[in-house]
Each structure stands twice: as C-alpha cells, then as structure tokens.
Subunit: 345 residues, 2 copies
C-alpha cells in the first residue's frame, strides 16, 4: 500500500473530461490525509492529433511510464478517422505497457435498470487478454481499392501470453466464494488459437483443484449472458471476444454508464491503466449528462490494484448506496458530489 | 419455381435426426401434389467418422453437388474432438459450395418467450458472410505444446467476397418495407479488414439510394441487440461477427429452438444448404424433447430460395399460429404433426 500516488490523467475526448473530473473528486475524498496524491494531466486525443498530428509521441510514453497508474477518460472523435486514436493511443498504451489483464467486472447493482426480465443475480468478472489475439495489429491490404483487393487480420496467440492471463484468472476465481472459471473461445472453428487456449486452460487448471471450470463457445456464451447470466463467476477470454462480451455484459447490468475496467500489468513493471468501458459519447459531451459512475468504479479498481483495498471498498459501497437511492435525474457533477460526500463519511 | 425437388438430407448428429424428420414431414405436407419430392439421405457426422474416419469424402461431395438443395440437421458430438466435424464437414460444405450468403432471420413471434423486458418488436435479418473472414481456416501453430508455442488465425477478406455479400444485403434491404441496412464490423481495431468492408459498403450503397445505412462496431451492436433490437432491419457482417450476433439474436427471439438459417449461393451454381442455427444438443437427443420449429422454418427458407414463395409463406403462417397457441409441452413429433396439419389445410 503506497503512501503516495503519482497519477497520470488522460481525460481524452468527449465526455472523458467530465467523467475524469468526478473520478478525481471521489479519489481525493476517499484517500486518507497521509496519502499524498500527485496528478499530471496529459493532453492526448483528438485535439492534440488535430493540432500536431501526434497520437502518442515517445516522450509522452516515456513520461507516462514513470507514474504509479493512469486514469483515462475516453478516446475517440468522429472528426478523426476510425482507428487512428484507437490504435495510435489507446491500444498503443495497452501494448506498450504490456497491460495483459483487461479486468472488467459486471454486477447488477440494486436499483439499476436491466433489459432482462426477472432481474437475474449478475456478479461476474471478465478477464480479457489485453496484448495479443486479433488486436495484435498484424495484417494488411494488397491492391487496395481495386476489385482484386485482399485484406488480412492476423490473430497472434502465444503460450506465454495465454498462460499468464489464464493464471491470473485462476487466481481471481480461486479468491472468490464461488470459485468458478469459464473459458470462452471458438475452438471448433479457430482451431489453432482455440486449442492453444484450451490446452493451457486445462493444464494450468490442474494447479487449482478448488476451481470449477467450464468451456463455452463465444456464440453460446452470448446466449447465456441474456438467459442465465447468474451462471458466470470469472470468465477468461481473448482480446476480441472479451471486447464483445463486456459490452454485452454492461448492457445487461445497468448499461455502459456503469461499466468499469482496469488494464493491468500485475508485475508492477509498468503503470496500470484504469478507464470506463464507455466511449467518448460526443453527442452528449459538455452537457453534464454523462454518468461518471463507471469512472468512479474504475478509480476503485485502481485503488485495489495499488493496495488501498479499504478505500476501494468504500467507493463500491458509496456507488451501491447511491444507485439504490437514485430518483431524480442528476448532472455529472451532482453524481460526483454525491459519491464524494459518501466516501468522505 | 421447380416442379421437382431433388433434396439431399444430412440428419447429422444428436437431435439432428429428430428435427429433420419433422422438417421433411412438413415439407411433404406443404408441397402441391404435382411437385415431385425426391430425397436422398447422407450418412455424415459423428457415427460415420467413428466408423470410417471420414468427414466428407470427395464422392459424397460430388454426389451432393447434384441436388437442388441440402437440408441439414446438426453436426457435432462430444466424442469427436472439437473442430473435426465442424471444419471437416459443416464448414467444408459452406466453402466447397461457395455458400456466401448465410441468411439468418430473427423475429419475435407472438406467444414466444424472450428474456427482454417489454417484448420489443424484433424483426430483422442478418446476412452473414459465409466463405471467408476468420473462418478461412488460414492459420497454424509453431512449437506446439511448448512454452514457446505460437498460434495464428488469419482472417482473409477479399473485395470480391465482401462486395457480393454486401450487394446481396442491399438487395434484401431494398425489398423490405423499412429499407435499412446496418454494417457491423470493428473497423477501429481491425483496420485492414474493417476499412475494406466499410469502403465497399459505402460504394455499393451509392447504387441503392432508397436504402438507409448505418455502421456499428460489433461490441456496440450487442448492446443494441438487447436494449433496442427494433432498430435493426437488415444487418450485413463478417463470418465470425455474424456467428456471434445470430446466437444472441436467437436468444432474444424465443431461443435457439426457433432460429432458422440458409447457406445460400444465389448464383444457383451449387446447391444451397438449410439448417437450424442450433447444435446437436446431445444431452436431449433421442428423447423427443427437441423443438423442430427451427428446422421447419429452415425448410421455409429453402422453399423461398427454390421459388416456392407461397408454400414458404404457408409454413411461416403455420409456425406463427402454432407458437401463438402453444400451451402444453409437446414432443418433437407432436409439434411436427401440428405444423404439418396446419400447412395441409
Ligand atoms: C475503443 C476500442 C479500441 C476499445 C477496444 O476495442 O478494446 C473499446 O471498445 C474497449 O472495449 O475498450
Ligand atoms: C458449428 C459451428 C461451426 C457453426 C459456426 O460457427 O458457423 C455454428 O455455430 C453456426 O452458427 O452455424
């Protein structure tokens, strides 16, 4: 547990600014007085790209590396071609800092809306691989723009990369009351990558006899997400399947406004990065309409990662209480104030 | 409209046998007397593989090629390693017969259960590419089983393959009352394949000014499938995204027991293949518990493809009426009988 937190803040685009401000407000309120919080803001995202053409220059990357953690708001703007900021900034950070555990908890808090009938009891965590698979950026086009064009995307999967994230997922499953781990892949079609995942999943599983295991194809998993989400405890999956499943998970647990995530390198050799799952939502940016709860919950994940378990639990309790009592529509700022007041108590 | 149908039947594994029998029962009942139905059954699937080691020998493939259409039950059994029958039989048929339009309608019939609150009005069609993308079977492993193993999967996308399926989707959208087409991909990450799809989607769209278009990332699409499924009319997407989305679509529209599909080659150079989206469900095989409705609806898609539009409509009407009145639990056979009786009226 650190007595000082040297935090990098990347507000980014759209509602990123607004929600990050509330995340920092709650962070300041929850930290004990003797923990020193230092923050440095980085101007990265659409504005910077328009101004300089840069997405993430080496000197920013070097400087970011020196922080204890990174809090990120949201990246992306319609004025920037699709992929430029995603690949050049967000994914670049995940890859450069080897953030291989993309942790995404899904919980249906009392008082929140779900599109599912009967309000099933949802409380699971997706451990999404964060540094390889179809996100490797390996691919290209030939004869671009002609009728003979061909475009490829190569999913790269290594025993090294799969084993470390699978092991992390077993550790997390083993520490939870239900101790259940589900591997999601598509090993009946993607036989090379899928069998690699399955073999390693089975082998590492032998070291965790207390953990019950299960395998689902990704298509079948989406069915269970809406018909039987209570069956899941911890899920481990590849980068792309994890991307898809966690948006669906957010949708059934109160929406993307509540979904938090951590991009974690458990070795501590690099700063881990915490961000809401939602995007920059340019349509509502600057209007005080964005729900900062996902960012605040991401701050809780960060505190947990940094060893401030008690403060993390206080944030989660504050969010739980706040959601249970929400009635009137409140602004971004009002929600942040309410949460800050609760954690300060 | 053909006066004779020379149909290949592949019952396959598990519940495949049971549901195909009902599909054929309804097909016989709906066809006018002067349309001659000839069927030939092919013994393909787990039993054959165990007996001979064969999945789809050349002579079967050649013989299948001579039929007007193929009706397939389900493929797969836990006794066969994952991928053997999927790649060696089901996908081999889709690829060998160049079945590039994998058509999957999703409709919430009155009287059927949905896990979604408020029973949204769901009636859309997914046009899933069927012959390339991550399903190309292009990939491999190096140093298999060692800590230095690497496994790749290559998604192969061609202008040729994308354009023809996109064009088919525009045709279908243009023929529907709402005339709306949504492209689903992940072009902010899979920039090579994603931009190829998007460029072709936009270019072909210029020829269909009456069709409204939309683009969604696959992760966002899953959110709308559960929060706003009524926004979709026709969706066109790649092979893997289509696989995932159509299982989710089935889950929100009464379950996988109702989801029909056609693997279509619109040129008519090869027989098209029709199959329920569900699998072989070995846990309930042989018990008369399987719902044959998805297979019966797949027969309707087949009749439509073969020009028997009126008969196809009669099957859909029979299913609609049957679902609206279902009360007691019925066996596979009873449901088949009820549907056959309705279409014969
Ligand atoms: C913005 C995009 C690159 C990103 C991803 O695909 O990982 C997002 O969808 C997410 O889930 O964090
Ligand atoms: C069985 C499997 C190979 C198949 C697929 O992935 O296409 C199935 O899931 C489907 O959707 O038809």
């Amino acid at each position: 547990m650190s007595r000082a937190i040297n935090l990098a803040v990347i507000p980014g685009d759209g509602i990123g600014q607004e929600v990050v401000a509330q995340g920092l407000k709650v962070l300041s309120a929850v930290l004990p007085r003797d923990v020193k919080l230092e923050t440095r803001e980085y101007d990265l995202g659409a504005r910077r790209w328009h101004a300089t053409g840069e997405t993430l220059p080496d000197e920013d990357l070097e400087s970011l590396r020196g922080h204890d953690a990174i809090l990120l708001g949201a990246i992306g703007d319609p004025s920037v071609p699709s992929g430029v900021l995603e690949r050049g900034l967000l994914l670049k950070l995940r890859f450069a800092f080897d953030l291989f555990v993309n942790l995404r908890p899904s919980k249906l808090f009392p008082g929140t809306a779900t599109p599912l009938e009967g309000r099933p009891d949802i409380d699971f965590v997706v451990v999404r691989e964060g540094t390889e698979g179809p996100y490797a950026g390996n691919g290209g086009t030939l004869r671009t723009g002609t009728p003979a064009e061909i475009a490829t995307e190569v999913s790269v999967n290594t025993a090294y990369g799969v084993e470390r994230v699978v092991r992390d997922a077993y550790e997390r499953a083993s520490a939870r009351p239900r101790k259940k781990l589900t591997l999601v892949h598509k090993n009946n079609v993607l036989v090379h990558a899928g069998h690699l995942w399955k073999r390693i999943f089975d082998r590492v599983g032998a070291e965790y006899p207390d953990v019950t295991t299960d395998y689902l194809h990704v298509d079948a998993a989406t069915i269970f997400f809406v018909t039987q989400p209570e069956r899941f405890d911890v899920i481990v999956t590849d980068n792309l399947f994890g991307d898809i499943l966690t948006d669906l998970a957010a949708a059934v647990t109160g929406g993307i406004g509540l979904a938090a995530s951590g991009n974690i390198n458990p070795t501590g050799n690099f700063p881990s990065m915490f961000e809401p799952v939602h995007g920059s939502a340019p349509d509502i940016a600057g209007q005080g309409k964005a729900d900062p709860t996902a960012t605040v919950l991401s701050v809780a994940l960060m505190l947990q990662h940094l060893g401030h378990t008690e403060e993390a639990a206080r944030i989660e309790a504050a969010v739980t209480a706040d959601l249970a009592e929400r009635d009137a529509v409140r602004t971004t700022d009002e929600i942040g104030d309410a949460l800050a007041a609760r954690v300060a108590d």
